[in-house]
């Protein structure tokens, strides 16, 4: 049932109010602003419809193991809710935002009841997603971050800001609150890179003894990150720590450090729960991990199903990140599994392949 113009305007108004609440709090506390927006309750009665449902998943890309695992979590959830989910249709935009717009149009063509998505770039989808909502199909963002866009009905998210602050504070702890660090962020221009930098800078403000020497972008590329680190090591004879929440990039970074023989002097920040990184942490008993779990895919699908049943849901269902100590990493690292796997509750039969 398509929503009325009045409901839509009211909803957008709420979103805009939320956005200005964020700016009212200002850059001072983006986390509180995000929490405020996320806790808003969404009136889902307009999306209520009887099952079973056809669920569309618009993937911005499927080119990283994290994303692939997230897709598997969605499939596991669909299997667990077999009675409700008649069909799961997945499209892949291959990093092309124009294609993602087309993909969503194609999914609507196939009469989906629910759209789960992760964007190539959030802003490029706002118009398309708003049109999807107008036609009565709810949208759930499972990219990892929280989106306050009027085109997103709800999010299953991990607070990137909290995560990067946690990663940064652990790094501060391990370097004793003073020294010189470098930051290796993911894809330049992405929201995650921006959020990670925001989180780092917030923590740096509380640690005036620490100097940020350089920001580089490894684009989740292990070889590139290794090469970047080799050059950074050459450029800066004294580095005390590396801020990099990505396990994948860290594997390249630590190899460069090990090869230069400076592993004793340089502290790594926690990475994520990528199996390859956990194996390294377990071996070297340092750094640890802060989780960025692909299981939000499952949370997202379940959130969507609740929306379709007309239950009120919060705008953002947050999945907390936990800090995994080096000791715990020993327990959960799986030596028999490939580097590219992700630690978590995903059952064996749903692992990729």
């Amino acid at each position: 049932m398509p929503i009325t113009r009045r409901q839509f305007t009211a909803g957008s108004g709420l979103a805009l109010a939320g956005l200005s609440a964020r700016s009212a709090f200002g850059a001072d506390d983006p986390i509180e602003a995000e929490d405020l927006l996320a806790s808003q309750i969404v009136d889902t009665s307009r999306f209520k419809r009887p099952g079973p449902y056809t669920v569309g998943v618009s993937a911005g890309y499927l080119a990283t193991s994290w994303i692939v695992y997230e897709r598997q979590y969605i499939q596991w959830a669909a299997d667990q809710h077999k009675a409700d989910v008649r069909q799961l249709i997945i499209t892949d935009a291959g990093f092309n935002p124009q294609k993602q717009v087309s993909d969503i149009e194609d999914l609507m063509r196939q009469k989906i009841d629910l759209l789960i998505y992760w964007p190539v770039d959030e802003k490029t989808l706002t118009g398309t997603l708003t049109r999807v909502i107008e036609r009565g199909v709810p949208t759930v963002n499972v990219f990892g971050g929280f989106s306050a866009s009027p085109g997103t009905v709800a999010n299953a998210y991990i607070s990137q800001l909290r995560l990067s602050e946690l990663v940064a504070s652990e790094l501060m702890k391990s370097i004793g609150g003073k020294g010189r660090i470098v930051a290796v962020l993911p894809i330049p221009g992405s929201q995650e890179a921006a959020d990670q930098l925001t989180g780092l800078k917030r923590v740096l403000k509380d640690n005036p003894g620490v100097e940020l020497l350089n920001i580089s972008y490894g684009s989740y590329d292990r070889a590139k990150s290794k090469q970047i680190m080799e050059n950074l090591l050459q450029r800066y004879p004294k580095i005390d720590g590396v801020f990099s929440p990505s396990g994948h990039m860290n594997l390249g970074i630590v190899e460069a450090i090990e090869d230069a023989g400076r592993l004793g002097q340089i502290k790594m920040s926690p990475g994520d729960e990528l199996n390859g990184w956990l194996k390294w942490v377990a071996r070297n008993k340092t750094a640890g991990a802060v989780t960025f779990t692909p299981s939000i895919g499952k949370v997202g699908l379940e959130l969507g199903l609740r929306i379709l049943k007309g239950e009120p849901v919060p705008r953002g269902e947050r999945v907390p990140s936990e800090y995994i100590t080096p000791e715990k990493a020993v327990a959960i690292a799986d030596a028999s599994a490939p580097d590219d796997a992700w630690a978590g509750p995903l059952p064996r039969e749903f692992r990729p392949r």
Partner: protein, 319 residues
């Protein structure tokens, strides 16, 4: 001066052009950062350049013919996935893994070669299409995540430094280049490459086995692509299924910088390797000079254009 002497003189200048640009590049780099005077750092350059360098040898052969091979990035990605997959964490399976990966490269090369030789279609687009097809198959085979586990010892051994200084992977690169250059200079195949590249019709009319040469050149390109993939595993392990993506253009830039042109009939592996180093030094230099990531792209583009223009000045235009 007879026309032969003049021709010889021009050939000499052609041969010297790229090494001169490389020397200039190195000079500038050393002036900007003393990293380039540190033997450990300079030797590490050989390691960094290994994947692109090995792949570029094969692509050079194809380009001397006057064709092009844009599938090399996809071959590298596929090789990383397959090699690690077959190895499965077991050191005794290393020879099997290497063999399987080589077979993969040779097969893809054979497909390319046959289609280009007998299909008489543009190799630019054809190898782009094959690259897509191979990428798709790699994704399907791997399901999107790399399943392989590299055998213990494989990376450690090849990443080590002899006497603490000389990287083994660097020596491997030098070995590949030496073999590549020798093969190109002394074999009948090498001679045929230049003859066919300079004038395909004349070569055909003289009864040269054109199709066979094309196929063999592409097979070598595929084979060297799979070795490049193995070098990639040594450099950065086996996570990710798209490790080679985009490398085909770096290889292409290096080959052209090295004096091999799209028309064919000129250039060689020596020049190509110099081209690889020019690009590598440029990439590293920009980071070392403290430029942030984005202006780096501008500088890289300018360097590629300038180096090519200078080389064209020395060696004569691409015609």
């Amino acid at each position: 001066m007879t026309s032969i002497d003049r021709e010889g003189g021009r050939l000499l200048v052609t041969r010297l052009a790229t090494p001169l640009v490389l020397a200039a590049m190195y000079g500038i780099a050393a002036a900007v950062s003393d990293a380039f005077l540190d033997p450990s750092y300079v030797l590490n350059l050989f390691r960094q350049v290994a994947p692109v360098g090995i792949a570029a040898i094969g692509v050079t052969y194809v380009m001397i013919l006057g064709e092009v091979d844009l599938s090399v990035g996809a071959v590298i990605s596929a090789s990383v996935v397959v090699c690690a997959s077959v190895m499965d964490g077991d050191a005794t399976r290393i020879p099997l893994a290497i063999g399987a990966t080589c077979l993969l490269g040779l097969s893809i090369g054979a497909v390319n070669g046959v289609l280009v030789a007998y299909g008489r279609v543009s190799s630019f687009i054809l190898t782009l299409g094959i690259a897509l097809a191979v990428t798709g198959l790699t994704q399907v085979y791997s399901g999107g995540t790399s399943h392989g586990i590299v055998a213990p010892g494989f990376r450690e051994f090849l990443n080590a430094r002899l006497w603490g200084v000389v990287p083994i992977l660097g020596l491997c690169l030098v070995a590949f280049v030496a073999v590549g250059v020798t093969y190109q200079r002394t074999s009948a195949f090498g001679r045929r490459l230049y003859l066919i590249g300079s004038n395909r019709t004349a070569a055909q009319l003289s009864g040269l086995p054109v199709a066979r040469t094309i196929i063999w050149a592409y097979m070598l390109s595929g084979l060297l692509g799979s070795f490049a993939g193995m070098a990639m595993i040594v450099r950065s392990g086996a996570s990710g299924t798209l490790t080679g993506q985009g490398l085909e253009f770096q290889v292409l830039a290096a080959v052209v910088l090295g004096g091999t042109t799209f028309e064919g009939g000129r250039g060689g592996v020596g020049g190509t390797i110099a081209g690889c180093f020019i690009l590598l030094i440029a990439f590293n230099l920009v980071i070392l000079a403290g430029l942030s990531s984005y202006p780096q792209l501008i500088v890289m583009g300018a360097i590629i254009i300038s180096a090519s223009a200078i080389q064209s000045r020395f060696a004569g235009p691409p015609r």
